[in-house]
């Protein structure tokens, strides 16, 4: 089986007022794999995510999605090309109900959002799909609650649900387990595994047990640079990686 490259970064550089947050990062994510990006705090993981999803413009370098450059596109057009992301800090629409969070996300690719003369009830055509995604992420019993009233874990689930509405070919998850207890972490692992079917997933993750459970390949970042990249079991034996990051975990 030949696997195509889903997402590729070539020599990405991002400077913030003299500080180089991303320094010549090249990365290749294969279609269908779960690729974890790890690294100590401040290694530039979230900056890299923002570069890949269009929320930041690279100072130099390129990002390609299935061979087409996307680094000059704004985020809302990158989604249309098939790349959807979640955020590290739960990012939902607090004043809408859980189900309306789904509906407003599902209507985005249709021609409905431009129509200020159309009754809201027209969105019901998207209702079954909304209910299905909510069931998939484990929020099937909470459609009417305000997103603002959800627990931290539930917001993380809704967050992933919102990303899934775009039916992305490539899904970027920024620390999906952050701030969760072990039970929540296990739920997220199962959820990521489920949504990864037929998709490419890139995730930033601190929790090494999550990475070892899920990742096919990993990329280790340090000081904005790629320290190592490859299959999980290979990279974890790399002495530089052990020294920089994994070492502490291995001894723990």
């Amino acid at each position: 089986m030949t696997t195509a490259t889903a997402l590729e970064a070539r020599h990405l550089v991002k400077d913030f007022r003299g500080f180089r947050a991303t320094n010549d990062v090249s990365l290749s994510v294969r279609e269908g794999e779960i690729h974890a990006i790890i690294g100590p705090n401040g290694a530039g993981k979230t900056t890299l995510f923002n570069l890949l999803s269009g929320f930041l413009r690279p100072t130099s370098g390129e990002v390609a999605l299935f061979g087409e450059r996307i680094d000059t596109l704004p985020p809302h057009l990158i989604v249309r090309r098939g790349l959807s992301r979640s955020f590290q800090i739960s990012s939902v629409f607090p004043s809408l109900t859980v189900r309306d969070n789904m509906l407003v996300a599902l209507e985005s690719p249709t021609n409905l959002p431009g129509q200020f003369w159309t009754p809201l009830s027209r969105l019901e055509t998207l209702g079954p799909r909304a209910d299905q995604i909510l069931a998939d992420v484990g929020l099937g019993d909470a459609p009417d609650r305000l997103a603002a009233d959800l627990s931290h874990g539930e917001k993380r689930q809704l967050e992933i649900g919102i990303s899934l509405t775009q039916d992305p070919r490539v899904l970027l998850l920024d620390e999906p387990t952050s701030g969760m207890g072990s039970e929540g972490v296990n739920r997220v692992i199962a959820l990521v595994r489920q949504v990864a079917r037929g998709r490419t997933v890139v995730l930033v993750e601190h929790n090494m047990s999550v990475v070892s459970e899920l990742a096919d390949r990993i990329t280790v970042l340090q000081y904005g640079q790629v320290l190592a990249s490859g299959r999980y079991d290979e990279v974890r034996r790399d002495p530089r990686v052990i020294e920089a990051y994994l070492g502490e975990e291995a001894h723990a």
């Binding site: 809302h76 057009l77 989604v79 959807s84 629409f93 004043s95 809408l96 959002p113 129509q115």
Partner: protein, 318 residues
């Protein structure tokens, strides 16, 4: 499956609440000229629609315009100008409203990319520019004197020299304007607009271009503010520089907050309360500014959701 019935029940209850507000407000507006003098009643309609227009932008897209007098005032002047040049009432009012929309294109284009206080300041700056132009361009605006003494020719057999007739004509116009605002808010567009307001970054990440939504909302809001301004001119038969004053922009903010932002019904009630209070205070020879200011401070401190927002919140908790 327990999900569907609960969603349905909730939607049903919300619909009932909205219907109750709508019927209540409609009834009051229908008999209003019997309760208070018609010119004041008409003022409530005009300011009420102005506040609804403001709420559409502030309550649903989070943009606090501090220059909405530009649209209200420009339309008021254009309406007066057209009437004094022999145009009929419908042409004059539509002309004023259209002028507000045209003005909103450049102002909106240049302002909606800014957020928070910057947006407020840019809109204020534009409104001050318009106000200055009106003061200087005396040939058209009458400068300090304003425009007055123009005819309001009747049409469809309506006699506009009668203030009650003018009121009911404006009530019909108000109903159209309110419906447009209501339709906009309760549409897929309105839903997306609220998503952009709630979390712009998240909205972008699911394919929304925030600028486009804010700009559209800005245009609709300015157009409705213009429609309200043309009603104001039509109601009074005079127009003066007050309509472009920055205090006018501030007053509509106050009315909206008083009635409850993001409710559409609230701003109408807020406008009514402010105007009635001012009328009572003026008649009783009391300091209007101090008392209305005090009421406003008390509402902001203790009923932050405004009148309608507080009632709705209370109903929901029960």
């Amino acid at each position: 499956m327990t999900v569907l019935p609960r969603t349905a029940a909730r939607t049903e209850r919300q619909r009932m609440t909205r219907a109750a507000w709508l019927i209540g407000l409609g009834l009051v507006l229908l008999i209003l000229p019997r309760l208070i003098y018609p010119v004041l009643a008409l003022d409530i309609l005009a300011w009420g629609l102005f506040a609804v227009a403001f709420d559409l932008l502030f309550g649903f897209s989070g943009l606090l315009s501090f220059g909405h007098a530009a649209f209200w005032g420009t339309s008021a002047y254009v309406t007066a100008f057209l009437l004094s040049h022999g145009q009929g009432v419908p042409v004059a009012m539509l002309g004023g409203t259209g002028a507000a929309l045209l003005l909103a294109v450049p102002i909106g284009f240049l302002s909606v990319r800014s957020i928070g206080i910057y947006f407020s300041m840019i809109t204020l700056a534009f409104a001050q520019m318009i106000s200055f132009v009106a003061l200087q361009w005396t040939d058209v605006t009458g400068g300090e004197n304003g425009l007055q003494g123009f005819a309001r020719p009747g049409f469809l057999g309506l006699d506009f020299s009668d203030s009650t007739t003018r009121y009911y004509f404006c009530l019909a116009v108000f109903a159209v304007g309110f419906y447009v605002a209501y339709r906009t808010v309760r549409s897929p567009f309105g839903q997306a607009l609220q998503a952009v307001r709630d979390n712009e970054q998240r909205a972008q990440s699911i394919g929304y271009n925030p600028t486009r939504f804010k700009f559209t909302a800005f245009l609709i809001s300015a157009t409705l503010a213009g429609l309200a301004g043309s009603m104001f001119t039509f109601g009074h038969g005079v127009v003066s520089l007050d309509v472009l004053n920055w205090r006018t922009s501030g007053e509509v903010v106050m009315m909206t907050l008083l009635g409850g932002t993001g409710t559409l019904f609230g701003p109408v009630i807020g406008a009514g309360l402010v105007l009635l209070l001012r009328d009572v205070l003026t008649t009783a020879n009391l300091p209007v500014g101090i008392v209305t200011g005090l009421v406003f401070v008390l509402v902001v401190l203790f009923f932050r959701r405004g009148v309608v927002g507080t009632v709705q919140h209370w109903l929901r908790r029960r």
